[in-house]
């Protein structure tokens, strides 16, 4: 049996990598994908605790998180498409029209 904290370490590693991706990359699509990675790391925690307590509540929450990720991806990618059409760029630090 794998102890519960192993799952937490795995989740921590994925979460940190995801945060680094969000904060350091310039490409918006990579940033969105890093957010997906963060959500995924959270899901591992939820399912691990759900297994620990022997209930399915954590799994239900994980399903909600995946739903949320789907909604976020749809809207996020829609914004990216609209933005790309107007500015021909995907770099986050060139999205500065509000700074004028």
């Amino acid at each position: 049996m794998v102890p519960v904290d192993q799952y937490l370490w795995l989740s921590l590693a994925l979460f940190t990598i995801g945060v680094i991706g969000v904060l350091t990359r310039r490409n918006v699509i990579i940033i969105l994908m890093s957010i997906e990675l963060i959500l995924n790391a959270v899901n591992i925690n939820l399912v691990a605790f759900s297994h620990m307590f022997g209930t399915v509540d954590g799994q239900v929450f994980a399903i909600f998180v995946i739903t949320d990720a789907a909604a976020e991806a749809a809207v996020g990618l829609g914004i990216i498409l609209a933005f790309f059409r107007n500015r021909e760029t995907l770099l986050a630090d060139e999205m500065d029209m509000l700074k004028w």
Binding site: M1, V2, P3, V4, D5, Q6, Y7, L8, W9, L10, L12, A13, L14, F15, I17, V19, I20, G21, L23, T24, R26, N27, I29, I30, L32, M33, E36, L37, N40, I44, V47, A48, S50, H51, M52, G54, V56, D57, Q59, I63, F64, I66, T67, D68, A69, A70, A71, E72, A73, A74, V75, L77, G78, I80, L81, F84, R85, L91, A92, D93
Partner: protein, 168 residues
Amino acid sequence: MVLNSILFYFFAALAVGSAILMVTRRNVVHGAVYLITTLLATAGVFLLLQAEFLFIVQVILYVGGIMVLFIFVIMLVNLDISLLQYQFNRQRFVAAVLALALGAQIFLAIKMGQKSLFPQASVPEILPKNTEAVADALFGHFMLPFEIASILLLVAMIGAVVMAKRRV
């Protein structure tokens, strides 16, 4: 179960390795492929945790749905220039240090709380039917959040349509 541990460490190594590759690759499509690998490895971890239904949801919805959408958009906006541009932004060092600090904080939190963790008392010989259990929870106790999630999806769908439309 030794096999269980071996499988877990295999999936964990795969997930972490391809996650690192995902945030460092220059080519966005390669990044997406590595993210898919991470998601599939996570699905394997779910299977080890006896969450079969979540495993399927992860594969069908995440890998088969959301990531296809990502790759679709990447191909629509594919820019050959972006391969020549610098991929990391100016605050990258500060950002990386801050992210690692956040990671260290969570590390400490887990270390402090580790004593209260306990393995599941006993795994029953015949596992309860996971899909039925999840359905019971979803349509019983969590009915209201479920409905709210459906409204969220509707809103997201309308939002995506409005965003992608040339002229509203």
